[in-house]
């Protein structure tokens, strides 16, 4: 589904993503792990065109998307849920959600997609008229994920969905991500600092350090690798 080959990007002279190669097969959950500053978010930002690629190639679903703008990439079915408050605070919950499906031509399906998001996150349905600024951290995270689903993506890039959430909520979000994959065959690339909970739902894992891939393996193998855990994952 997603193939990244020798991808390089940088903030000025500082290299953030350094020749990263990875593959996320259709219907899989791939965890991207690593410490703060390892280049995880930058990797996602480079994939979706928010940060220009200096070298390398990104292919999504058979299309070369390396030089495409973010607004065109989402139209191909690759949705990016950015880190932190991707919810637009000044808009209501429902406006935020509708925004995620506006680019789609199938107008009839938008209402149906909205209903499905409310089924998946009933809390959002209860608060549909509230300003997104009044939501709690967990609700905002649900809103960002729900909004991405409004476009019925083939693949979801999730940036730290559990950041700043209470452990119970974080587990809940992780379970939802897993069940989305199981129920709809969604492909997921999941960036997490919380390696333990990410590996618990992932099929495969990739560990980044200073922008480079230092390990890439089956999720269970990674979780069992004592040395790797001690060196990069901190659990």
């Amino acid at each position: 589904m997603l193939e990244v080959d020798g991808l390089v990007s940088a903030y000025g002279p500082v290299r953030a993503v350094d020749h990263v190669t990875l593959e996320a097969p259709a219907g899989s959950v791939t965890a991207v792990l690593g410490a703060n500053g390892a280049g995880k978010s930058s990797l996602l930002r480079t994939i979706t065109g928010m940060l220009p690629a200096r070298a390398g190639r990104v292919r999504f679903d058979g299309t070369n998307i390396t030089r495409l703008a973010p607004e065109e990439i989402v139209r191909l079915g690759l949705a990016h849920v950015p880190e932190g408050s991707g919810a637009i605070a000044e808009l209501t919950v429902e406006e935020n959600l509708r925004l995620g499906g506006l680019w789609r031509r199938e107008r009839d399906d938008r209402g149906k997609a909205l209903g499905e998001v409310y089924d998946l996150f009933p809390r959002l349905g209860e608060r549909r008229r509230s300003a997104a600024s009044s939501l709690s951290g967990g609700e905002r995270q649900m809103l960002s994920i729900g909004r991405a689903l409004m476009g019925r993506p083939k693949m979801l890039l999730l940036d730290e969905p559990s950041l700043g959430l209470a452990p119970v909520l974080a587990t809940q979000i992780m379970r939802r991500i897993r069940s989305l994959r199981d129920d709809t065959g969604l492909t997921v690339l999941l960036v997490e600092q919380n390696a333990k909970s990410a590996l618990a739902i992932a099929d495969r894992g990739i560990v980044l350090n200073l922008g480079r891939v230092v390990a890439s393996d089956d999720a269970r193998q990674l979780a069992a690798d004592e040395q790797l855990r001690a060196a990069y994952l901190g659990f």
Binding site: T48, A69, E71, G86, L99, L102
Partner: protein, 292 residues
Amino acid sequence: MSRFLDLTLNGVSAGMIYAAVALSLGMIWRATRIVNFAQGGMFMVTTFIASSVIASSGSYWLGFVVALVCGFVIGAIVERVLIRPVEGGPPLNAVIVTLGLLILLQALAGMIWGGTPRSFPPAFSIRGYVVGWHHLGFSPQDLFTVVAVLAVAALLWALFQHTEAGLRLRASAFAPMVARLQGVRVGRMLTLGWALAALVGSLAGLLVAPSVFLGPNNFDPILVFGFTAAVLGGLDSPPGAVVGGLILGLCLSYVAGYAGSALVTLASLVVLIAVLMVRPSGLFTRARVRRV
């Protein structure tokens, strides 16, 4: 008492014009964080175009419509050609570009239409309504001004709140990067925002021209008053722009009537400074934290 009533009515119709200017400044501010000083020049040019069309066709309404359409087009062109290259840079660059454009437009207008102010026809009679024996300081033209600005404000509100384009416009203004990730073509939204803002500005020009005359520099005070109204109501708030325009219109009308018209510009500056000292974000904007 009747003098007070006249001054109040005058203030309302003048305030509506300031409100229109404030609305157009606020729309651009919300979308791009740029104060568009060229607005004064843009609506001066569209009013000159209206003047030429009216003179050659004899139809006021043809000139009216042509001016609004030209405003829309000029707004789009200015954003696309002049503002786009400096967007994302330091805000001061864009402000300097709009100032430069203002001066350029004033010079061009002087070359094309001459520097001598000319009269501009009102849409309706400027003779006050007669109530009993008294001529009110409020004419059909004033009524038209109030209705036109309120109607445009209502249309804009409906556009922004209840249409898909409006949702895209708001998302692009509040969080451009997030909007792009949702497939919103933010560049196009900025162009549309500037075009709409310039359309509202050109309406203000058409409404104010009969009373201040039409010349390359005659609208300068209107831009200053519009800016004051926008700051008064809060640059971020469209209802604030309307209320800010009204309050300023009333204040200036009372000052002109009771203290002398020479003090009007001074009064506007006093209002501006007072608001900036007491409530810098404006009367109608809730203070909020922007994460950077």
